[in-house]
């Protein structure tokens, strides 16, 4: 039975075009994965069935804890190789020989933050790359990749534009897939018929957004939070801009932003370093050198608290509360990250989930996020609740946040959160997909190459005081931005 997923995937492909931007940007795709480090797990200790286990000092009646605490650790490390191409693109490569496949991902500083006067331009450019490239038309491109069993993906977010290829690593499939991949990245033709079709799809996407209170709330949140920064630009465009964008605009955008000096190349798979160097060189030589995109301005925090309500005939009200957060590389990042785990990102153990969901049954999903970006990304808490419970949920949310910012976490919470983050580190880099996400993120945000190796120490050093100070610096509880989308008419009834 896969009807539901299939149907919704297909019918909502337009929606996905639109909403994935919000969602992915909210998660800040490669960036938001929380790297932990350290716990170096080892082989399972074979339980000895006859051995009676004593009651533990912590009172737990579980016998397995003894077993896992005895287990020996096993070293595990991701080895990243890095170099620059002649034209200045940064390359990050991990050799992984276990599966006969290869991932190549190029990342440009060419997301919606570079849209300028034409919202949606970055996204439309990105979506058009596979519609015609070199001498291949859209049908030929699709047949070529799919006939080789290769997957090509384009993605456009607020900071990044990404083009990814996953192919079998055997040269018989890899080489022809790569040849066309280079053209898709460097020689797109932007055919008129495709532009009209994608333009219509994006316009329809804007209509679809109007039937989703969650999407409307997110859009209003970003627009309200960033009046002067391009993060306020809707990445999926506006009706006006989408109607105006021409093939020449796409060409200009591509020429300016899809250039070597503005590119990061991330690779992982079953190839040798020399092959990886050749791939990077090919990408480098097919693109003009160009210039790196200029640094974005800093975001200004809100001067005072603001509320915005969108009336919508839904049974739930979508609530988003937040403000300006931090940039990638913020010195307080690790304190904020551990604190956020305790406040609202740590699943069922987080304070917000405990209070809003477990104790009061007010929402299915409540989370807090820091989204570090090239400029200051947002801090936000979101939940959805039945319309008449909106005020109750908002009150609890604000009390929980206020209390956390004032007093920080308890020692017990801190210890549990650190253990979780450190213990889950191996999961964060357990697959090639996870690792290529990291490589793209480290390269794009110019994080140190030993980011993963030093992560454990950085997390271990966080204490309750650091969390309290970091939250007090960043989260202005007196100047929060609150967006609600739902039926106010029935609220409080």
């Amino acid at each position: 039975m896969s009807e539901q997923s299939k149907i919704s995937r297909k019918t909502l492909s337009i929606m996905i075009l639109v909403v994935s931007l919000f969602i992915v940007v909210l998660y800040n795709l490669p960036g938001s994965i929380k790297p932990g480090d350290g716990a170096e797990p080892g082989p399972i200790v074979t339980p000895i069935l006859s051995e009676p286990l004593k009651e533990r000092a912590d009172g737990s009646k579980l016998t397995s804890l003894e077993l896992i605490e005895q287990a020996e650790s096993k070293p595990y490390k991701v080895r990243i190789e890095s170099w620059n191409t002649p034209n200045g693109a940064k390359v990050l490569f991990v050799r992984a020989q276990e599966i006969p496949m290869l991932d190549v991902r190029v990342v440009f500083d060419a997301g919606a933050a570079r849209d300028g006067e034409l919202p949606g331009l970055a996204q439309l450019t990105s979506a058009m790359l596979t519609e015609g490239a070199g001498i291949a038309d859209v049908d030929a491109i699709a047949r070529h990749f799919e006939g080789l069993g290769a997957n090509i993906d384009t993605g456009s977010y607020r900071d990044m534009a990404i083009v990814s290829l996953r192919t079998l690593s055997d040269a018989q499939y890899r080489d022809p897939a790569l040849t066309l991949f280079y053209d898709v990245v460097a020689q797109p033709t932007f055919p008129a018929s495709s532009l009209e079709r994608l333009r219509q799809q994006m316009l329809l996407g804007l209509q679809q957004e109007k039937q989703s209170p969650g999407a409307l709330a997110q859009k209003a949140f970003f627009q309200g939070l960033y009046p002067d920064l391009p993060y306020g630009i809707p990445p999926n465009g506006t009706e006006d801009s989408l109607t105006r964008i021409s093939a020449d605009d796409l060409r200009r955008f591509h020429e300016q932003h899809y250039v070597a000096a503005n590119m990061v190349i991330a690779m992982i798979g079953d190839i040798e370093r020399t092959q990886a160097e050749l791939i990077a060189l090919q990408l480098d030589s097919q693109l003009p050198k160009g210039r790196a995109a200029p640094t974005l301005e800093s975001a200004q925090p809100l001067a005072e608290a603001r509320e915005e309500h969108l009336e919508f005939p839904s049974s739930q009200t979508h609530i988003m509360v937040g403000g300006i957060g931090v940039k990638r590389g913020d010195p307080d990042w690790f304190a904020l990250s551990v604190g956020n785990e305790i406040l609202g990102a740590g699943g069922f153990s987080s304070r917000l989930t405990q209070i809003i969901r477990q104790d009061n049954g007010l929402a299915y999903s409540v989370y807090s996020h820091f989204i570090p970006m090239a400029s200051e990304g947002p801090f936000l808490i979101n939940l959805q609740t039945r319309n008449d419970q909106t005020q109750q949920a908002l009150t609890l949310l604000n009390q929980t946040l206020q209390d956390f910012v004032e007093n920080g976490p308890t020692e017990e919470e801190l210890e549990a959160a650190k253990r979780h983050i450190l213990g889950s580190f191996p999961l964060q880099t357990a697959s090639n997909s996870n690792i290529v996400d990291y490589l793209g993120m480290i390269g794009f945000y110019q994080l140190p190459l030993n980011y993963l190796d030093t992560y454990i120490r950085n997390i271990e050093q966080v204490d309750a005081n650091a969390i309290r100070q970091a939250f007090q610096r960043v989260v202005q509880t007196k100047a929060l931005f609150t967006v609600t989308a739902g039926q106010q008419a029935t609220a409080g009834e």
């Binding site: 006969p100 799919e146 299915y364």
Partner: protein, 457 residues
Amino acid sequence: MANVASRYLLPLGLALCLAPALNSAWAANDSAARPSAAERTFTHTLDNGMKIIVREDHRAPVMVSQVWYRVGSSYEHAGVTGVSHVLEHLMFKGTDKVPDGEFSKLIARYGGSENAFTSYDYTGYYQLMSATNLPLSIELEADRMQNAIMPDTAFTKEIEVVKEERRLRTDDKPNSVAYERFMAAAYLSSGYHNPVIGWMHDLDNMTAQDARSWYKKWYMPNNAILVVVGDVKAPEVFELAARYFGPIPRGELPKRPLNREVPGNGERRIEVAIPAKIPTLYVGYNVPGINTAADETDVYALRMLAGVLDGGYSARIETHMVRNQGIAASAGAGYGGFSLGDTLFYFSGVPAEGYSIEQLELAFNDQIETLQTELADPEELERVKAQIISGIIYQQDSISSQANQIGRMEAIGRSWQEADAMVEKLSAITPEQVQAAARKYLVANNKTVAVLNPQPL
């Protein structure tokens, strides 16, 4: 952002990629030194009937451990729709040994992530952790297989959470509402008629006792499958399972539903007129699945048919309906052959600007008629196969998707090894068989049409 929410309703599996073994023609890609996924997979059955499947994957020091119960919403009867899913939520509310809230805290403390999912034919629980922590995950699952308490007080709060989940996932999403109605119209006599999350009035009317009875009825080792994929050794997993699950007595298993569909006796059409912006068309044909097909070849022919129509951007629907004719803004087709009972071959789409739902349906009909009257190009079939084969290799990148695939097959009463054989079986499908399947199944008597007709918001 609901997708981050935990303990959620799994909207059924991902695409039906189902075969860990490499096709011989492609096996050359794989160095001889690498043992195939099938060679690294081991099974064992405990004396109490619980089945254990382990796939060793030593790439990273992590593992996923899943317990699958062979019960889901398609097993439910009128009045208690949604109870499988409510029970799934209540399974986190504690045992004598592990009080309410402790389960999640323990998993988090040991660096794991955990969740659960409910679907039509199964309910599953999983932990993703460092491989050394497997004993904890197994002990906790064994404990709640027989000792879950589900107190009334916890139920009272949790049922409200489930209702919020229903509002979030269904009631406030026009496409979800339309899909729910479409399913109810397309499935007349099987359990797939009801939504996994249940109808709201059944949730309103549900009691903790309903969930407890459901638990007693279906949660027993001889109705469960343990799947572990990761950096573990199979004999050690079997030993752990014997230690913790072994003492749980076998139970008396009730009859499973057949989930068969009666003949349609003509085309069925419904309209879903609700506030929305985008008109959408849903078309389903009642067809057999792997457990109900008289001839298994039909299942693979239908799978191939779905690939020819919608196996990517180069397949017929994207090429003709979306790109060349421009009738559809978005359209797709698929076949859910791996189910406990009968299933659907389905189409769905949104008309492009300037086209109507009627024109979209006619365009689907044209595609079907072409398949019924003309043989598919062997090259199209090759492309479908190429993607399935590479998909199997790519799937090895994720321990979770490997475990999901194994668990899904076993939970519908099939063997994970059948998934292995899929590539070969698909390779044997000819253009003539694809045509025959289209002629046999994609006919008016089997057809249900649902139209989401947007009303002002």
